[in-house]
Symmetry: C2
Subunit: 361 residues, 2 copies
């Protein structure tokens, strides 16, 4: 039915070995047989079978990507970065999402065994040690935004703590001393770090930590909406809302608008991530830039390096941290934030390599 290398060999009256050599230019072949083989291959529309090739070569030229979800702009940005880096290295992507616990991740990994050369796992709600457990031994893996456990798997993260700290300091510098905080899910590593950063900034400013000013969301717009509603319902509402990610900030602003509470005049709202849409919101969103696509690219680069054995020795768990940057826009009411005359997203920015340096801790 489907045309195989044998068909090509037969019609070109050579052995399959020669066909393979021509197609991969892996050994010298005389110019005329080479031409003959190519011609037959073209005319038959021959395309080598990927599974057979992977099996024989013992490498698949593919990477596995395991994500907790695909909802919202964050994951598509991440995937975009991963895809760019993988494609540059001629690798395909086997993607699987909706994996929130170690069991689910385990079964996703099993489905990928033998079809991928390495694994990119984002599991902010799962302990890194638990992930390591379900991992095949010595399988090249990079964990994205995992909890900072002392496991043996390579990890890349964003400076959640520093970013949140800087943001809270910024809000304080604007004179907003009562800050409501919409946190992420309780077991989410990123969410926790951002919370810690916020705390740290408050404490070093000598401010108390008021439990009434804390509500817990789940990184969805809806939970941001709910969070804002809760915060506005307390006896003395805050003067600013710091949502632990942009999606929740968007939800919060949406609630405030419905209540005719003007942002930023009556309420400053800030987020975290700098998803692409943030700069186009009304008001444009002050946030912490993460360089999501760059994160994906760096993670992929790390993995590809490991595959080429330009890698750190497998038993040394390295941990990379990408820096974050404050992006001051309209929603925080900062006087420095004049409306930009041009949208910042130029076509070059859209391909998204931010060249953010890596700092190892």
């Amino acid at each position: 039915m489907t045309v195989t290398i044998k068909d090509v060999a037969r019609l070109a009256s050579v052995s399959v070995a020669t066909v393979s050599r021509v197609l991969n230019s892996s050994a010298p072949v005389s110019p005329d047989t080479r031409e003959r083989v190519l011609q037959v291959a073209r005319s038959l529309h021959f395309v080598p079978n990927g599974s057979a090739r992977s099996l024989s070569r013992r490498r698949a030229a593919a990477l596995g990507v395991i994500l907790p979800d695909l909802y919202g702009e964050f994951f598509s940005e991440l995937l975009r970065g991963i895809d760019q880096a993988a494609q540059r290295a001629s690798h395909s992507l086997l993607v699987s999402s909706s994996h929130h616990d170690a069991r689910g991740i385990g079964s996703a990994i099993r489905a990928m065994r033998g079809r991928v050369d390495g694994l990119l796992i984002m599991a902010p709600e799962v302990d890194a040690a638990d992930v390591a457990e379900v991992l095949p031994a010595d399988f090249p893996t990079v964990l994205i935004n995992g909890a900072a456990a002392s496991s043996s798997v390579q990890t890349i993260t964003v400076d959640n703590f520093g970013g949140a700290q800087a943001m809270t300091e910024h809000l304080l510098s604007l004179g907003r001393r009562r800050i409501g905080f919409i946190a992420g899910a309780a077991h989410n590593a990123d969410a926790l770090e951002r919370e810690r950063g916020h705390h740290a900034a408050l404490q070093s400013a000598g401010l108390p930590i008021d439990p009434e000013l804390y509500v817990r969301g789940d990184f969805s717009e809806e939970s941001g909406w709910q969070g804002a509603a809760t915060l506005m319902g307390i006896l003395s509402p805050p003067a600013a809302i710091f949502a632990a990610n942009d999606a929740m900030a968007i939800g919060a602003i949406s609630y405030l608008r419905e209540q005719d509470i003007t942002v930023p005049e009556r309420m400053a709202v800030v987020g975290f991530d700098d998803i692409p849409v943030a700069r186009y919101l009304n008001p444009s969103l002050t946030t912490v830039r993460v360089g999501i696509a760059a994160l994906g690219q760096q993670a992929t680069a790390l993995l590809l390096d490991a595959l080429d054995n330009r890698a750190p020795p497998t038993n040394v768990a390295s941990r990379s941290v990408l820096p974050t940057h404050l992006v001051i826009r309209g929603s925080c009411g900062s006087p420095t934030s004049a409306p930009s005359r041009q949208p910042a997203a130029s076509s070059t920015a859209r391909n998204g390599f931010d060249e953010t340096p890596i700092v190892s801790h």
Copy 2:
């Protein structure tokens, strides 16, 4: 190095055939050997090699997904729908993006040959016939939002024409008779259909088609920003802007805000797609709901059906069209659009099966 079925067989002192039978429960095996095999397999952490399995079975339990891009919420929604449907059928996803022309699509397909059982291709800027050309003969394929060519490949689309027509009619009914239109890329099939729908509505209302009111974008926020700038620069600016997708509508609103032109009072702005963030914008975006995730799910369901040969005969090109719905929110200035008290995105809506019926043309 890695543990294979032979290792399991040896340690359980049975043949590889028996191990395979146990693992797939494909033939009766006595309870005690069965138990013994399972125990050995577990203790060795044996996981079957996917490539070998695909090769032997002649099916990969994977689908190939080829997208033009990954930027923005549209594609992540689509991918989310596809992933849901595929996962339900225990299929993996091999994803490849950034393919805008037939050549790129062709090479992506070649890389997937033998690793996937079917193909999901979104290529709005490529003629369906050109896609069919680079397709392996008789390979199960579903085209998403492809141009309506008479090719032999199955296609699923959204009712772009009807949606755009309804939207323009709505704007006209609000008394906005001068409507600026920000179109999509010139060769984009979806964009063209939406343009046609807009035209049709104008014509049946007896209105002229003013070329000054047409600007061409590329579905990015930035091009929406530029488009709005252009439209505001003409001698007698419009009273409404219809952007051919939500991203451009967001860009347009962003420009208008910078110019202190209030939306919807001085300018109505509407979009197309109903990406998740649309309802959280300020003002919330009036748009045409497409059910993006549902589109992905339906496309995948169609493909899976074809794989099971519950399919339409391969030589009959079927064409499915999903209906679209007007979603009236704040940005069009419609009196009927009272602010909702609750965000519409409930957690059930987030898993996104819209149950939108399929209408075949």
